[in-house]
Each structure stands twice: as C-alpha cells, then as structure tokens.
C-alpha cells in the first residue's frame, strides 16, 4: 500500500495497470489524454506487460478491444465525450459479444459549442448499449472501481463490459491522495482473465454470425437481460471482498447520506455529490432534515434500492448533469419511473445544473433545497424541470 497524490486520470491508469490489462487500444482526447499517456509510459517502462495499440480512432479502439477480449486477453481503453459517441456502434457490439472490457470515460460535454468540461450526456446517451455504468466521486473510487469492474464483468454469470465515469477536470485533473493497493493483493482479488470461449484454432468457433428470426437472436438478448439482473447482487459480494482485502468499503449502487430521517433528499451522481453532502452537513447543523443519495451506478438501474431508500422521504430533487431534449433529465425519468406503482411515492422535481462544467457550489445546492422545501410547504411543484441559474 502506497499513498500518493494523483489526478483522476493517473488513478484510472493505475487501475488498468494493477488489473494487469493485456491489450490497451486507445485514442487520445481531452481531458482523457493523460490516461493513455500514463499507460503508454507504464508499458514503455516495462511496468505493465501489455500490447499497446495506437489506433486511428475511438471506433477502432473499441473494435480492437472487442477482438482482443474474444481471443482471451484482458482489454482496456479510455475515452471521453465525442470519442465515446464515436464508439457507440461498437459499444453495442461489445455487450452483444459478451466481452468483459473495462473502460474509463472522462465525462465531458458534447459540441457544439465546444466544451471540454464536465457533463454526463456522453455516458447517459450510451444508456441502452448494454454496458454497466459507474460514476465515480473521487480519484480513489476511480482506481478501485476499475478493479471491481474487471472482477464483476469477468464473472462467468455476467460477462458484460463496464464503463467508469469520472468528471472532466473536477476529477480528471484534480489531485487527491490515492491509496495504491499492493499488486500482490490485487492479484489475489482479481486473478488472471480466463475467457469462457476463447477463439482457438484447435476448437474453431464462429462468434457473432447471422441469426434468423426463428433461431437464437431473442435468446442471446434475453441472456444479456438475465446477466444485467445479476449485476447488483454480485456487486455487493465483490465490494465485501474488496473491503476485506483492501479495507475500503463501497456501498453498492447507491451511497446514502443522512437519508434515514430526511424530509427532502437530493439525488446526484459524480464528483459534485461532495458539494451536495457538504450542503447537507451545513443544513443539518441548523436542524434541517435533509439528505443526499449518490447514484454510483446508472446501468443496471438500482430501482429496488432507490425505492427502499426513498420510502420515508417527502420530497425528492433529482439533479441531472445532462438533458434528454424534448423530455427531461434521464436520471429523473428513471427515478420517477422506479417510484411509479410503489406504495409510497414522494413528490419529485428535476434540476438541471452544472452542465458544460459550470460550477456547482454549496450556495447552488442550498437554493435547490430551499426550492424543494417551498414546493413541499405549498404542496405544489412549481415546475416539473428547472434549469438552475440559466442566464437567458
């Protein structure tokens, strides 16, 4: 165990290194570049024994990772924003081919106008690709989640890819103390990758061939559905193992913060969750019953866990750092849908905050809490969706 001060990008590269990834195919994109640079350095110095492919696009990066994984190598890539979108077609392919690839994605806004700062639209718009999705709050969590993801994805009952989101600049370029676990312990936690059906000339298999309507297509898809259903229970087990091995405890798909007796709860994901928790502390000191939920995982969506966590809450504010135009924030939609049909259904409102990297301060969050309490007091939600602090 070594403690070092490092950025989220370096932490992601360490996650890939400690996981002993064997094939890295990556394309540089701001603000992810440092991940691929650091990995290149690890490989050049002989600290990581991997094939490093300087591919000509993110699309090819993902294609190469899928193929490498099908041959039986542990594959890693990292991207961001437009790069993730360029991969979109192959993201579907990766899950359809059941390849347990792990990817770091630096969450960045989409153009136009150009913006290299944080937003979650890039990953949210990959919602239906069949990838497991994590959003990290700290650099430590970035590193640890990559280790957890390989263990989760390579599980024989799961065999799906995962992406770990880290907020552009707030995590990618901000330094924090990170504990780098011992390689020996990581090796114990995460043994070598053994592909279930590695491509081998002694036992020739065809992977991904045509399926007629009367054949197996729906069954292949049903298997992905089943695998996704197993992710959250398995995650709890893996995180328990992780705690025993490394002494750091993660809380499954949700992190609950002062929710037990809270009247109003704000839900958020990513690094700004820290600001929300800070605001909760401030308000709690004044006796205000507020709480926060950090959504660590967006796919599979932790419906059951959320409903349980919100069962005594009167008002829920959902902060989205993305927007589904023509509708509402995607997290809001999903949370609302999860609550539908349950015995208890709190009032719920959507706040769009901090997109394109605009700062979220405790003042912003206080204002949102105030608005929630106002709605609660008046027994009326003033607006279904509110874009906070918009200048037009």
């Amino acid at each position: 165990m070594v403690k070092k001060i490092m950025t989220g990008n370096i932490a992601a590269a360490w996650g890939a290194r400690l996981s002993r990834t064997e094939v890295i195919a990556a394309y540089p994109i701001t603000p992810q570049t440092i991940i691929v640079e650091k990995l290149a350095q690890f490989v050049s110095d002989g600290d990581l024994k991997a094939e490093y492919l300087h591919v000509e696009s993110e699309h090819s990066a993902m294609a190469a990772c899928i193929a490498a994984s099908q041959i039986g190598a542990r594959a890693f890539t990292a991207t961001s924003s437009q790069g993730l979108l360029l991969m979109h077609e192959l993201l579907h392919w990766a899950s359809g081919a059941r390849t347990p690839i792990v990817m770091a994605n630096v969450n960045r806004a989409l153009a136009p106008p150009w913006s290299v700062w944080v937003e979650h639209t890039d990953m949210i718009s990959q919602r239906d690709t069949g990838w497991i999705q994590f959003y990290a709050e700290s650099n430590q969590e970035v590193l640890d989640t990559i280790l957890i993801c390989y263990k989760l994805c390579e599980d024989k009952e799961i065999q799906l890819p995962a992406m770990v989101g880290l907020d552009a600049f707030y995590l990618s370029h901000t330094s924090e103390i990170v504990d780098i676990p011992d390689q020996e312990l990581v090796d114990k936690f995460l043994p070598k990758y053994e592909a279930q059906y590695p491509i081998d000339t002694e036992n020739p298999l065809s992977l991904g061939s045509l399926s007629m309507p009367h054949q197996w297509y729906p069954e292949f898809r049903y298997k992905i559905y089943e695998a996704m259903e197993r992710v959250i229970p398995r995650l709890y087990q893996i995180e328990e193992d992780f705690y025993k091995q490394f002494g750091r405890r993660y809380t499954g798909p949700l992190e609950l913060y002062n929710t037990e007796d809270a009247e109003v709860v704000l839900i958020i994901s990513g690094a700004a969750a820290g600001t929300v928790k800070e605001t909760v502390d401030i308000l709690r000191k004044n006796g205000v019953k507020v709480g926060a939920i950090r959504l660590r995982m967006f796919r599979p969506f932790p419906k059951k866990e959320l409903v349980k966590a919100l069962s005594n809450v009167s008002f829920v504010g959902v902060i989205d750092r993305s927007f589904s135009f023509g509708h509402e924030g995607a997290m809001f939609s999903e949370i609302k849908a999860s609550l539908y049909g349950t015995k208890f259904s709190p009032a719920i409102k959507n706040y769009i905050v901090g997109i394109g990297g605009r700062d979220i301060t405790t003042d912003t969050i206080k204002k949102i809490f105030d608005n929630c309490f106002n709605c609660l007091k008046n027994n009326k939600i003033d607006a279904h969706v509110e874009w906070v602090d918009i200048k037009v």
Partner: protein
C-alpha cells in the same frame, strides 16, 4: 497434399449459402487451402457474413470472428495483439476478409491504421465491385460504365462514370511489405501469392477479383471465363508490390475491353464511344503499370 500445386485440404465444407458461381467462395477456398487450419478469420458486414451459415451452424473449418462493417482491420489488429501477448501469434495467421465497400469505403480508415501500425495480418479484399450483400449498390470500387441500383440507367444517363480506386497504390503508399492482386481464374498464381503472404512478417494486402453472377448479370458458368478476360484485357492486371517494387505477374494484355463487357448485363447500356473512352483509359493505366514496374525496379 498438393495436386497440380494446389493443396487438396478443404476448409470450406458443403452447406454454404452463397449464390451459384460466387467468386468469393473460390477466393476464400484458395486462400484457406494455403493458410490452413491455424487461421483466424475476421469478417465484417458483407456477403461473407451470411455465406458460412447461420448460428449455430458454420461451413468453415476455422474460427470466425464477425465484426462491424468498418472494423475489419481494427479487429484483426486486436486479434493479433491479443495472440501476441498470449504467446500464440507465431502459429496463427490472422486474416481480415472483407468486400470492396468494407475495404475501400467505410473500412479504409481502419485498414490504413492497421497497415501503418505494422500488424502481422493478411487483409484480403474480395472485390465484387459493388455492395452485393445489400443488392448491388455502387461502391468506390464499382468500375466505370457499370450500372448498379444506385447508379441506375435512366433517361439522362446515370450509370457510373467515375473510375475505381486503386487500392494497391493506396496500400503501397503506406510502404506495406507485401501487396498483390489475385484472380481465381489464375489459381496457380493465386496460390503462389498467398504462400508468399503467409511468410511475410507484417501487414499484407491482397486484392482479389471476385465475380458476382447476380450483380454483374451473367450466367454463373461464365465466371471463370469472365475472370480470365478481366486480366487479359488489363481491366484487372495481376501484379505484386513487394519491398517497394511493382512486379507484373501476367504480362499478356491481348484482348479488348468490349469482349469483357459484352458478357455482362451491367455494361449492356454502353455506347461504342463510351467503350472506346474506357479502352483508352485502360490502355493508359496498363502503360502506367508497366512504367511503375520498370521504374521501381531500376
């Protein structure tokens, strides 16, 4: 075992779903005869994505990885990298097998990247000169004069008037160690070139002439004859690019383009003037190729 220089072992078994007289079947058959059992093939969206059969059946005796349309070369790169790190590359040929659209259009970026990176892969383009799996739409390798469903003959013309890309020159510009054109109508030449390709350490590009009776509109039994005409007219010259040098492997350009055209429905609409124009162009290209050979060997 070899008979008349051609290995007798087969890796394509009966039960495939190709059209009668399919050129891609012959191309893949000769290719695999030479490359043998220790071969992993990558196939994008193309006729060959359907030909080997539907899951769980296959008529191929080697492992196949299917991949997205534009990713053949990137996928082959990933296969090669993984085999290398696993210590298995020495024994295994990694093949990308794609049509003309997957190679010269949507897949050209990945192909360029893979060659530039120097992966030890054999990339084979079976060129049937249009998007045949989707029903004969124009690709950038559809030849001048041909009609397709997206270059239909109409009252104001409409057939293809652009010339096809020269893929060998494109890959040659990457300083590729070995590239060659092959034609199943010349099996010995075909076999010899793949045998060479197998020994190359680094990327190889093979451009294979691949007749298509349904798309080119001719009777299937004429396929081999049309193939021979393609080379004898200079429309599809047989040559190699090796260590920076061009080498023509069949130098008899004895026939006129009209002989090739008149056997195929896709050229039926052409006027004499247009055919003469094409003839001039082909003659020029042939002279250029002779010069390339001469200059690069000087």
């Amino acid at each position: 075992m070899k008979r008349a220089g051609i290995p007798t072992e087969e890796f394509i078994y009966s039960g495939h779903t190709a059209c009668p007289g399919c050129g891609a079947m012959l191309v893949s058959r000769y290719l695999l005869k030479v490359l043998g059992k220790n071969t992993i093939m990558n196939i994008p969206a193309c006729c060959f994505a359907a030909i080997p059969g539907t899951f769980p059946e296959t008529c191929l005796g080697i492992p196949l990885l299917y991949n997205a349309f534009e990713t053949t070369a990137a996928t082959a790169s990933g296969v090669e990298a993984a085999l290398k790190i696993k210590g298995r590359k020495e024994k295994i040929n990694v093949v990308g097998f794609a049509g003309d659209g997957g190679t010269a259009d949507i897949g050209i970026q990945a192909l360029s990247g893979a060659i530039e990176r120097g992966h030890d892969i054999i990339y084979v383009c079976y060129d049937n000169e249009a998007y045949m799996n989707t029903g004969m739409q124009t690709s950038s390798l559809t030849p001048m004069g041909a009609s397709t469903t997206t270059n239909p003959v109409g009252k104001k013309g409409g057939w293809r008037t652009r010339n096809k890309k020269n893929m060998i020159d494109i890959v040659a510009a990457h300083d590729i160690p070995y590239a060659a054109t092959v034609n199943p109508s010349y099996p010995m030449d075909f076999i010899k070139k793949i045998e060479k390709a197998k020994e190359v350490n680094g990327p190889v590009y093979i451009h294979a002439y691949s007749v298509c009776p349904t798309g080119w509109r001719y009777q299937p039994e004429l396929g081999l004859e049309i193939g021979r005409l393609a080379t004898e007219t200079g429309i599809f010259p047989l040559y190699e690019f090796e260590d920076g040098k061009y080498k023509i492997s069949y130098k008899k350009k004895t026939k006129q383009v009209i002989e090739y055209y008149k056997l195929q429905g896709r050229f039926r609409h052409l006027s004499e003037d247009f055919i003469n124009e094409v003839q001039t162009k082909i003659d020029k290209e042939w002279q250029k190729l002779l010069l390339k050979e001469e200059c690069s060997n000087r």
